[in-house]
């Protein structure tokens, strides 16, 4: 490990803000690219289930 303490790890000799900002935005955007298709697919499935249910209700 290249750091002696947690504080040193966070500060990175004064460059911490740059490093953590870059890693933070990367993490956010990559997560978003998994989240968006996953949530869209989930919504699609839910909407279909509701439609199928109401079609069944009408039949009964």
């Amino acid at each position: 490990m290249k750091f002696d303490s947690l504080v040193a790890f966070v500060q990175m000799d004064g460059q911490g803000l740059y490093v953590w900002a870059a890693y933070g935005i990367t993490c956010l955007l990559l997560a978003m690219n998994l989240w968006i298709p996953a949530i869209r697919q989930l919504r699609f499935i839910r909407r279909h289930k509701r439609d199928a249910q109401s079609a069944q209700d009408r039949q009964e």
């Binding site: 490990m1 290249k2 750091f3 790890f9 990175m12 000799d13 460059q15 911490g16 740059y18 490093v19 900002a21 870059a22 890693y23 935005i25 990367t26 955007l29 990559l30 978003m32 690219n33 998994l34 968006i36 298709p37 996953a38 869209r40 697919q41 699609f44 499935i45 279909h48 289930k49 199928a52």
Partner: protein, 259 residues
Amino acid sequence: MLLVNSVKQFVTRRLPDALHRLGSPRLFFETSGRWLPWLLALSVGLLLLGAIWALLFAPADYQQGHSVRIMYIHVPAAILAQSGYLMMAVAATVFLVWRIKLADIAMQSAAALGISITFLALVTGAIWGKPTWGTWWVWDARLTSTLVLFFLYIGMIALRAAMAHRAGVGRACAVLALVGLVNLPIIKYSVDWWYTLHQPASFSLSRAPTMPLEMWLPLLVMVLAYYLFFFTAWIMRIRQLILVREKDTDWVRQWLASL
């Protein structure tokens, strides 16, 4: 004569048949569904491994200090921004030549993903530029051509939105993708053709590493992780679009009923 006939049959019948079978949305959906959990686990796992390695164990640069740790997320993003475009252009070609619907969906999905990855390459580059060059941005050939790449991806999405529900939207997008291909060699050789602030390529699989192994290895892990991530997110988007486009078919109804 027999040989000529069999070659002709292969080109005009067998090859298109095979492509159409492979390009069947249903086959893709079912096959990718089996692979997806593994791809997802592997890509997220490799990303975490690479990030921990890059942040905690890779050495600081003797000139740049710790800001060199941004390299491990900037370089793979820049590589994928260009590779992603190339993959999108391949999908565009397949769609133009054989009219395979799946290729059109793949092209659309790659564009959406490409915007994010190119944005990441630009933003992490700007953040890295501030402590190392003393500026967030310069109108340098490499930076400018990457910005053009970003606009090309946006253009792909904008064109599709503008032509939604109109015939020929897929073909128009495919043509735009192929025209934009000219930008790729410009990005690649910009650091050789012009005197730029951006440094030349430092990561290549075909040349000996120009950096110490303890930096090159985590970078290799990150590049692999980004590729896997790109494929994972790409497949997820393609699957979602397949469901929407094929929602009235029997197999989608059956799949939904089986959930």
